[in-house]
Symmetry: D2
Subunit: 301 residues, 4 copies
């Protein structure tokens, strides 16, 4: 038609080839959203698991996972397995096979696409909108499974952005940035809510913590609240290598990578057949140090 | 932290000021998604209404709409009102007050932001990701209301893009482009499915329609299927000015603009108070000709 | 060859259609360059004329201009004519026929391309680099004509940028911004150098002028230096409509537009033939008020 | 002023950090420009040396180079030295200290900026316009030295573009792409002009060469024109490692890198003092194979 010329106003936004593509999502106004739905403070395990679900859930209608996935190569522990088989869910890592790795903490999730991914011709707005769309739709879809009894009272939304990292070095620094942020925020928040629960106002709690170092906060948890951050059960601590307990998610954030998982398929003659499949699994490892990367050389290859 | 430098890799993607910002969403792989959920062909009214809902639904917890919204200024008819009060829904036009106008057809929706909108500093990826996220989350959230009895069997996703239009003229041409596309596609699809329902294979139907003009297709509907496209009940036709029946949505697409709607609020002393509020309403007008724009001068002001 | 894939790393930088394209050049380190070549302070007429030349000069090998170009339509005065016929020079406005208008002041020049120009597919880097290249090469080429006896002692360089303006209104505001800047800077510089020539140090001069208003500076020129800025010969003043004297260039900046100019061509039989041609001419009008634009409606058409 | 808001229409065009920045210039319409100035076909040594000059010339007013620069580390030969001391010239590699390496051939030149260069905040239009401006102004400025007796009859212009390469590997492939292009074009052009000089029309010459391989062209030069491309004096051939003769520039292109050059400075007491300085020097090496890069590890460091 004579109106078709308007299509030329669309800009070409293909991303530079040869760079790692990171799409980072962050919940819009989650301070309010968490309040509205009564999330536990500072870390609501249901919420974090829902985030992980939206990041990784996959179709599994035709086969059932057999128990836990293989143990993590770096820490020899099993990643935590979802409590039930999901009916044909599709979420970011399942929908976008080019996502090599994801990292989540609090209300945010970062997805790392292979540096040579040609998905959607590397068009920035396609990638950022589809990832945001998939994650948000999945979040609503899986809500009831993670928050049974709590109806959704507002529409959860996530903003997105695309960032390019030209080298393995800068990509690792990006992920280290996010994980170090998790450590710092979590220690702060743990102290903050401990103070608040002990009767301080939020203003007083902020005041007491302002400008303090990690040592001070660890000491505070120990002396005032009887928590020795270093003698906590492993799952609550930031572990030397990797811990797969759920609360560690709070501390290390969630790392999602594709691991081999054994599946059992029903055969036509009524028997069963085992098949190993790559499947997105959640870990709670340290990804700042080299050990993780040495154990997973395929991630940066 | 020493990793913070990676933040500098984020590009500044602020959009040129002074231009109309259009965010267009389009369902990903909806050919398959529609099949999977048994959508009626060629136009499933439930699906179209769900799209409209995701585009416009708004919070209404504290007050109830009193009957239908005011009649449309151009056609003197009432826009169709949602059948039930929605509990605190939030969707694109309610969430983003800077959206002046939206246009939807098939599996796509375009949102027009005010040319001087400063929302999120006009950052392209913020806008496109948030709109896609809000729409997708709302689509899932409102699914059950529009498809009672049909469980969601896949995650609906929408890609998004941002396009700038520097003048009123080019913006109107954009909207005309989308509406003309609706007309053409709908006439084709109506013929196509009429042929298929009459026993043709899809290949044969395509073959018969290939390269034909509007006149041929209108004639076909009349002579072969007893439908006179021009003597159909008004709501099925592309009307001279504006028709507010639901099936016309199929033909004209859905135009969403903010109209004054009367609300009744409970007062503290048990009485009620009326208040007129601007609220996103769906129309099915012709927006190619000047009449609509003359009637709604505030849209381009 | 197997290396050709690297071409894909080139980004598409086509500019949004339908917008005015402004390319602004600015001399790099001209504070030093002007010093090195002993430019007069604050305004060196030779330098300004050389800038104008680089902005507009054109091929004229085959015909000679007959006297002055037609008088300006708004002020009825003649634009100043170059003193001599140039041998086949080519500069920005002659090279780029899509440039509608240019505005120069100090060490900068802005070139306005027609809003629908398709030159080089509207590729930003093509436009900005070619304009900078053409201007710089012309500046060196014409140097000796404007600075006879002063050899070029450094390579003059100009940085460039592209800015889009979506409407006539914003384009005019852009040009008003540059011209208002000329007014303000010139009044300041005239005072500053008058103070310095009267014996003040540059530091003292800056100090005395810091934060002062126009009135103060006009008064200073009048009372201390015997200059009444408002009773100066017209060419030295910022005129009500338009003044074509050279020194006004200093105040109003240089506006270059295409005007009809009479040319005399030698015919084969030894006679002559007159022909009117559009040619870039320099004016020193006010372009902030409406009068100029009313007189030149073709500029924004 | 109230117009200042227009500054906000300038887009932020900072280039992604951590990538090699390549600025490539290419002469605009040089087919015509070369013709107009009677350049030798296919390769005019004066023209190529002028290009090299515009790429690398530097200030040398205060000291004189002592003989030839140090021999090339890879081929043990001396880069060719300019025939005379230039008076205060400034050209691209001297002006832009962040340029690590340049490569020139025909009417084009590529400049490689250090991957972490912060020059002009990595703003793309600043870089591309300044390089184009500096090169073009220098080309005009040095013209008379390289073309004595040939007045400049048109303004030489160069378009520019910026391309990012995220890794050493892709940067080397870029440079290999340009050098392989030089090889192929030169063999073609040598054959083409040999055929034309032997009496063929340009159409016939093109026809005869169309689609032929290197072997055919080498054989043609040998059998028809008595030239054995492989037994030519080394400087005419594409050498195994590096040849520094001038005509090889034609074949290998010009590589400009910074080398230590001995300078002699006059001291206050009338004596002299030697000082080694890094200075841009032209080589004609193979840069496709590893040898060159092994010899110059600092280039990619
Ligand atoms: N109570 C609770 N709050 C959480 C949890 N996870 C995240 N949040 C809250 C804490 C923060 O207020 C908020 C995340 O911080 P952001 O900087 O993303 O702020 P917010 O999303 O409010 O604003 P934004 O739209 O991102 O600028 O979400 C949780 O597990 N429990
Ligand atoms: N049966 C039925 N199909 C519909 C309805 N609305 C949209 N669709 C289908 C028809 C088309 O196959 C599809 C929309 O066309 P698109 O060009 O957007 O293709 P699709 O979404 O499959 O692929 P895409 O990911 O957008 O490239 O959605 C409806 O109401 N009923
Ligand atoms: N003496 C004299 N100086 C002039 C004339 N025209 C321009 N200039 C000088 C005055 C300013 O110092 C300089 C222009 O100011 P800019 O802000 O462009 O600074 P500059 O070019 O030094 O630095 P830049 O590389 O543009 O950031 O050029 C003139 O006619 N006479
Ligand atoms: N005779 C002669 N011609 C040369 C020499 N160096 C370059 N040229 C000519 C050959 C080509 O026609 C032209 C370079 O080819 P381009 O593809 O850059 O084309 P051109 O500059 O004409 O057009 P463009 O504006 O770059 O698209 O310059 C030389 O040394 N001698
Ligand atoms: O943590 P971020 O990157 O989201 O930081 P922010 O302060 O929320 O800034 P932005 O406006 O970029 O989301
Ligand atoms: O209708 P559109 O604009 O989505 O057209 P498309 O052919 O789907 O192309 P795109 O890859 O831009 O979505
Ligand atoms: O006058 P401008 O726009 O050149 O302003 P500037 O302060 O020189 O800034 P820039 O770094 O954008 O040239
Ligand atoms: O050799 P290039 O890259 O200049 O190729 P081109 O065919 O001249 O194309 P362009 O329009 O990008 O200069
Ligand atoms: Mg944020
Ligand atoms: Mg948030
Ligand atoms: Mg957050
Ligand atoms: Mg599409
Ligand atoms: Mg679709
Ligand atoms: Mg569609
Ligand atoms: Mg500047
Ligand atoms: Mg300057
Ligand atoms: Mg300046
Ligand atoms: Mg080219
Ligand atoms: Mg060329
Ligand atoms: Mg070329």
């Amino acid at each position: 038609s004579k109106y078709e010329y308007v299509k030329q106003y669309e800009a070409d936004d293909r991303l530079l080839p040869g760079c790692w593509i990171v799409v980072r999502l962050d919940g819009k106004g989650f301070t309010k959203f968490c309040d509205l739905h009564g999330f536990e403070k500072p870390n609501d395990e249901r919420a974090l698991r829902l985030m992980d679900e939206a990041a990784k859930a996959r179709a599994s209608g035709r086969s059932l996972r057999r128990g836990a996935p293989r143990p993590c190569r770096c820490c020899r522990r099993s990643p935590h397995a979802p409590g039930r088989a999901l009916l044909l869910p599709q979420a970011v890592m399942s929908e976008f096979q080019d996502v090599r790795l994801a990292f989540g903490e609090s209300d945010e999730y970062s997805f790392v696409f292979a540096r040579n991914s040609q998905l959607h011709g590397r068009r920035a707005s396609k990638l950022v909108s589809l990832v945001a769309s998939c994650f948000s739709a999945s979040y609503v879809r899986f809500w009831a499974q993670h928050f049974p009894g709590t109806p959704l009272a507002a529409t959860p939304m996530f903003d997105g952005r695309v960032v390019l990292y030209p080298s393995n070095h800068t990509l690792r620094d990006y992920l280290s940035w996010r994980q170090a942020d998790t450590h710092v925020n979590n220690l702060y928040n743990t102290c903050f809510w401990a103070l608040v629960k002990s009767g301080k106002s939020t203003g007083e709690a902020h005041e007491q913590l302002r400008g303090t170092l990690s040592d001070y906060k660890n000491e505070l948890l120990f002396s005032q609240f009887g928590l020795n951050y270093n003698t906590l059960p492993e799952r609550f601590r930031k572990p030397a290598s990797c811990g797969c307990g759920c609360l560690v998610a709070v501390l290390q954030g969630s790392i999602v990578i594709r691991q081999r998982v054994m599946h059992v398929k029903q055969t036509a003659d009524g028997g069963t057949k085992e098949k190993e499949r790559l499947e997105p699994c959640v870990l709670h490892c340290d990804i700042i140090r080299d050990a993780f990367w040495a154990q997973h050389p395929e991630l940066l290859a």
